[in-house]
Assembly symmetry: C2
Homo-oligomer: 380 residues x 2
């Protein structure tokens, strides 16, 4: 009846389903816990006629032509270059921190001095890690490195990961760059674009195929079982391949313990004016409890007198209470993950792919690239 | 795993699923051929921000308080009284044909004369069938009866059912009434209302329950089988009850032949002006090949500078080519239906309900009432 079972209808599951249906003409059953397809990329039009990204703002950007061309089969694009400001010392200034930002933050004389020092030392359009700036002997370079680290990264990272500022691993965060440039864009990838009608339409188009059946609102545990390294579907042994994009610890009933994730409380607000802020996203590294505010009209233009904004409040993930968004990368967690992975390898028909199943932070383009690769190498 | 299987996610299937999930706390699998829930009542918001009824205009009206209260669990209402005009002799006039219409159609002196004759003979606010008017001795009453029959009903009926005007059974159509009243409303039911956010939202709310699983894009024949009067699901004998709301002849592979239906070619047009016509629906009994034009903004107010209209062109139903909308009531077809029904009775677990499975023209309120009854008497 079905040749493949896929658990999860995000990009990982949907791309593989689409490939199976169209490239090898086999039948797929997708099982998805939520009441919609699209995973964390799901969006919808609200009562203000504004497209909202339900699980946080999603900006597509890639240098991978193959991925861009593949997605272009399912959508027209709006060519959009993402801008982010950061609220620093009472002012919204451009980030990634670059030469323009110097002039936005400091009095002109200081900005000029810093700019000249930087340009004297580094190539224009290069990205210099804060870490290497801190190692410079020059006091001005040290000063600017410290400033960026303290004002832009330290507290933001602490909020995001729920750490005290002193717990932040300076070595890691100091890898973030100072951008010796006047380029104010948040990303510099070759392909930056927004699907004209939103992401959900992409998934609808991908999955609209007679070979693909979808069960929404269905936790895989309701209809599948892994027993003695064999996979069962609707109580019958399932002979085909199983592509799993959910949480690997859940698949094994948390046998070795829980893999930690960060979650977010996402608070949507409708504001009764035409615009709320100058750009799509403003980060709040030091103020308030949210990390950033996104205004969706900048991402998807809309004909509305109101505007909708989203505040993101980071939280620990708790099973059944909120959604696991970001894996927490520590050596310990990686080892725990590997235990599960080894366990999974015993079930020959099982293929793990995606953000949750691989416990990796994937951007959309990465996960699509990986899904296309997994299809070629392991699925078809 | 599942206690019930329901085939079809229109009102018949969805109401029963909702009752099973919430009243007896059992598990249901719904199998639906289309890529959406809601059956023929499905609607969506288009790019003009206008709610469109994909399968033709749906106006909810009922005298049944139980049905109205039940539906009110799933929606807020906009209280809306439906108006229909008919394009007669180059002018849009009110229907059902009533005393106002006389003045819209005829010169004042004639209208007054006809009105006085009608009021002299019949009670105000009564509905008189064209048939009984034709039997009157008075020439004026005969004249108006004939006029209404010829101009409003005959050709409309011919278009709708694909007959030549001379093939129309005058006896049947002449049952339609002349309304001795100044009430221009199309329906006179006590409860007339439109779901504030459209019909699809009702279905989403009804079916959003952990006990309900839905497979869209799935013809029941892909996953179920009826063999030796037993029902099979995913290749296994299914022990629970099966609620079937699809076409009964299809269920039995057209064993005794096809049940005929009328279909419609539905042509949507976006018009670049604020309004297209004065009321929601204008009938075209005598002109053009479509039966009526509906302008959705009258039904669901929308903030748009454009407007969207729908033309309905009746067609015969052809398997696989279009959608079966209206059963064709003839004695012969009823007998054919009964053969299938008898066949179905052999499968003890099988319950037939809805417009297709019962081969009946149900309005929405009727089908909901029937589904609630079937749930109480046969399902739970
Ligand atoms: C807040 C936020 C912002 C982001 N912004 C960007 C961005 O700007 N640009 C970018 O490129 N990427 C961004 N991403 C990353 C992007 O969301 C991921 O790359 C992408 O969603 C990964 O796809 P996936 O299929 O692996 O996972 P998901 O999209 O999470 O899909 C997994 C699916 O599996 C389902 N599932 C889980 N458990 C079960 C179960 N037990 N039973 C059945 N189904 C189950 C889930 O419901 C989900 O639908 C962002 C992510 C987050 C969280
Ligand atoms: C043009 C038009 C206008 C109407 N206007 C009104 C109105 O104004 N007011 C009013 O009260 N009523 C109106 N109705 C009637 C209303 O649509 C019906 O009362 C209602 O849709 C009946 O619900 P149902 O569940 O019986 O059938 P449906 O809504 O037809 O649902 C049956 C479902 O079964 C599915 N199905 C069929 N075959 C299969 C298969 N092989 N496998 C899986 N699934 C299958 C179908 O896809 C469909 O979703 C109108 C009907 C039409 C056609």
């Amino acid at each position: 009846m079905f040749d493949y079972v896929i658990i999860g209808a995000g990009f990982a599951g949907s791309v593989i389903a689409e490939r199976i249906a169209t490239q090898v003409n086999k039948k797929v059953l997708i099982i998805e816990k939520r009441n919609h397809i699209g995973g964390n990329c799901y969006d919808y039009k609200d009562e203000n006629n504004i497209i909202i990204h339900k699980y946080g703002p999603h900006l597509f950007h890639t240098n991978n032509k193959e991925v861009f061309d593949y997605l272009s089969n399912f959508t027209d694009w709006r060519f959009y270059q993402h801008r982010v400001l950061a609220f620093i010392d009472g002012k919204n200034v451009s980030i990634p921190f670059n030469l323009n930002t110097l002039y936005e933050v400091f009095p002109k004389t200081i900005a000029e001095k810093l700019e000249n020092k930087l340009l004297g030392k580094y190539k224009y359009n290069s990205k210099i890690s804060i870490l290497s700036l801190l190692k410079e002997k020059d006091d001005d370079l040290k000063f600017i490195a410290n400033y960026v680290y303290e004002k832009v990264f330290k507290n933001y990272t602490a909020k995001q990961w729920g750490l005290k500022p002193e717990e932040i691993d300076a070595q890691v965060t100091a890898r973030v760059p100072f951008y010796i440039s006047r380029d104010n864009r948040y990303f510099t990838d070759k392909y930056q674009a927004i699907p004209k009608k939103g992401y959900t339409k992409i998934f609808e188009k991908m999955l609209n195929h007679p070979n693909i059946k979808i069960m929404l609102n269905t936790d895989f545990k309701e209809v599948c079982q892994l027993k003695d390294d064999e996979f069962y579907l609707f109580g019958q042994k399932f002979e085909g391949k199983v592509i799993f994009t959910g949480m690997i610890d859940e698949l094994f009933n948390y046998k070795f313990g829980e893999l930690p994730y960060r979650s977010l409380d996402l608070k949507l607000e409708t504001v009764d004016k035409e615009w709320f802020q100058k750009v799509a996203t403003v980060n709040y590294p030091n103020d308030y409890d949210f990390t950033r505010i996104t205004e969706f009209k900048h991402i998807h233009p809309a004909n509305s007198k109101r505007t909708v904004i989203l505040k993101e409040f980071p939280k620990p993930y708790e099973i059944g209470k909120n959604i696991p968004y970001y894996p927490v990368f520590t050596k310990e967690n990686r080892e725990l993950y590997n235990k599960y992975k080894k366990m999974a390898e015993k079930t020959k028909s099982l293929i793990l792919v995606g953000r949750l199943a691989e416990y990796r932070y994937y951007d959309m383009d990465d996960v699509i690239k990986m899904a296309l690769k997994v299809f070629e190498e392991k699925v078809k």
